[in-house]
Subunit: 373 residues, 2 copies
């Protein structure tokens, strides 16, 4: 048993098949014991938390998970890739957490979308996930307490739903508790009876068509490009047509029984989509955090420049800014700003204090760990 | 580092939150090292196999995986359940195997069906899975070598496709390499605007309606029961109707945006569906195996009794027998027989030798490990 003996490092190069299998069995026994002990510690953590605050104990701590995964990736020496190893640990954490109480997570459905993939990527397989038909319903489900967290796309290069998510925050008290990034690949797909050289139409969301423009120019210059509402919609249409193709993710090909004619046709190789985890929780400092705020401004000359000044003064690195018309009136604007750092950081606090003096309203949507995986 | 120090067992009962987290971090470091070493051994196993047989090396060994999982469940002391622990090890093995070459697996689609769930349950998340529109196309995909394995339902209490799978074996040289069991729950579901007391129709596959008869008699005695082709089809129909409900699995509710009105309404609590893993591989002895054979018989008086005699004589435990008309002619029958044991077991070999003398043809579909999870 691992408790009695110090583990003996073995050089697998000098072993035959039977020895290697014995070694794997021995390693499995140790891994098993350690995972059991980890689960015991996790239960104990829950118990300590419950004793301290029976009504408000929070078992899932995004900042803590981010730290664990970051450390796993730093310490990993292979041969498994960092992402693979982090995924295994995500599942171990997910299983340990579910011992106490499985997380209930609402996401923008239907099943099989990238948002569901994002939910599983973030929370692991032990999560209970529930598809909702619209973004505001994901918000409502979490506000009502039916689910502890929600997952919504925010910078979605393919479905064009960013504004919907941003606008939902304006009328909601939910916080951002985390973010997930998924690499998105575009594929050209068609029904099984479609011949490649007969394709005269390519359907997709407008942004996906734009993201594959060079490939289409080079390989299908004559095909008409038709923009539709979503990539899933494009795949659905193509399902019944013999002379058309769709650009969409692999999942859409699976859902609509299409064959992928060409993989990864996007012009930019690192096309990715960002999702937010929403909830009611204030997330602590993980050490590598992001903060999102909404700022309402009067439409005055130089307003935006003045707004941004404190960020620069206090060395706060702004990563994104979106402007939206305010729902409250004709002459105000709302800015969604993402920057590096946590509201508990001194420089962030100082910058926000100054911005509060200039703005009509500043609402912190949340500080949360940067996407790890 | 774990290499230098013997692991110190710690009693989590005497620790505060910070200590517990330190302990978890320490455990994670050890788990990480051990998983890395396991992956190294797995790579080495592949290398040894390649050296011995460069062209025919087989990296995935179902009997070996079954043994590993069985041992994990035997050695598990909690607090994680045996199934949870085995699932984590399934993922660890899946990741290690994918290091060498990710498995390509065809399954009866579309995505989101129980068969896909079975494929992931059996092969883990690192598998590449490909949905096929029909059972015989799963067979063809594996025969053509495009996928190494296929997953098809064989005793499906809800979709009624058993015969299709059995018949496919008659004209195929594929073997059975494994089986998967999924517990299937039936749920009553309806659109979000449907009131429970307004439901006047319940759609489902005939077998699912039968499996929920007592519940329906007790709770919806007045609702008309309408049998349709599959449970997914039932859910699809209900999607647009305000006064009807469907009986189907949770995935169907997600796919068609229905709310589950009542979970687990099946009369028998352990309703499960069985899937087969098909491939070209002969699977070795795992120690807890099953064998499937097809036997062709002339239609003579007492034929079936004579056929079965050797099983009883040699203490071979028959677990299932299906009779199908033979495709080759009017007066012959084909029997699909499952029994406990492996073709390499002495008693099994003796029984089969005797059966061969009596039958027109005996074809061994495969010996494979019993479903572990």
């Amino acid at each position: 048993m691992a408790d009695q003996d110090a583990p003996k490092p073995v050089n697998p190069d000098n072993m035959d098949l039977a020895d290697l299998r014995d070694e794997i069995d021995r390693l499995d026994g140790e891994i098993l014991q350690l995972i059991s002990r980890r689960a015991q510690c996790a239960l104990k953590v829950a118990e300590v938390k419950m004793k301290a605050a029976p009504d408000t104990a929070v078992f899932y701590r995004p900042e803590r998970e981010a730290q664990v995964l970051t450390r796993v990736m730093e310490r990993n020496i292979g041969p498994l890739g960092n992402e693979d190893m982090a995924r295994l640990f995500r599942e171990i954490m997910s299983a340990c957490l579910a011992l106490e109480k499985p997380l209930e997570v609402a996401y923008l459905g239907p099943e099989g979308t990238f948002t569901q993939q994002a939910a599983v990527k973030h929370f692991g397989r032990w999560v209970h996930s529930k598809p909702m038909p619209a973004i505001d319903e994901v918000f409502r489900e979490v506000e009502a307490g039916a689910c502890t967290y929600g997952v919504v796309p925010v910078e979605n290069s393919t479905e064009g739903v960013v504004n919907h998510t941003l606008d939902s925050f304006i009328n909601s008290n939910l916080r951002i508790c985390g973010e997930v990034e998924l690499r998105i690949h575009h594929n050209l797909m068609a029904g099984p009876n479609t011949q490649r050289d007969k394709i005269s139409r390519v359907y997709s969301h407008q942004q996906s068509l734009a993201q594959c423009r060079k490939w289409l120019d080079a390989h299908m210059p004559m095909a008409e490009r038709i923009a539709v509402n979503s990539n899933a919609e494009a795949a659905r249409r193509v399902h019944g047509e013999w002379n058309s193709a769709a650009i969409a993710g692999e999942m859409a090909a699976q859902l609509y029984d299409l064959d992928i004619i060409e993989h990864k046709i996007e012009d930019a190789p690192d096309n990715s989509t960002r999702f937010l985890i929403i909830g009611t929780q204030d997330v602590g400092v993980s050490g590598d955090d992001k903060t999102s705020v909404v700022v309402s401004m009067r439409n005055e000359p130089g307003a935006l420049y003045h707004l941004l000044q404190p960020f620069s003064d206090h060395n706060v690195d702004m990563t994104r800014l979106e402007t939206r018309p305010s729902p409250s009136g004709n002459w105000t604007y709302v800015f969604f700003i993402d920057f590096a750092g946590h509201v508990e950081d001194v420089n962030v606090r100082q910058a926000l204090d100054e911005i509060r003096k200039k703005a009509v309203e500043v609402k912190v949507l949340g500080s949360y760990p940067k996407a790890v995986l």
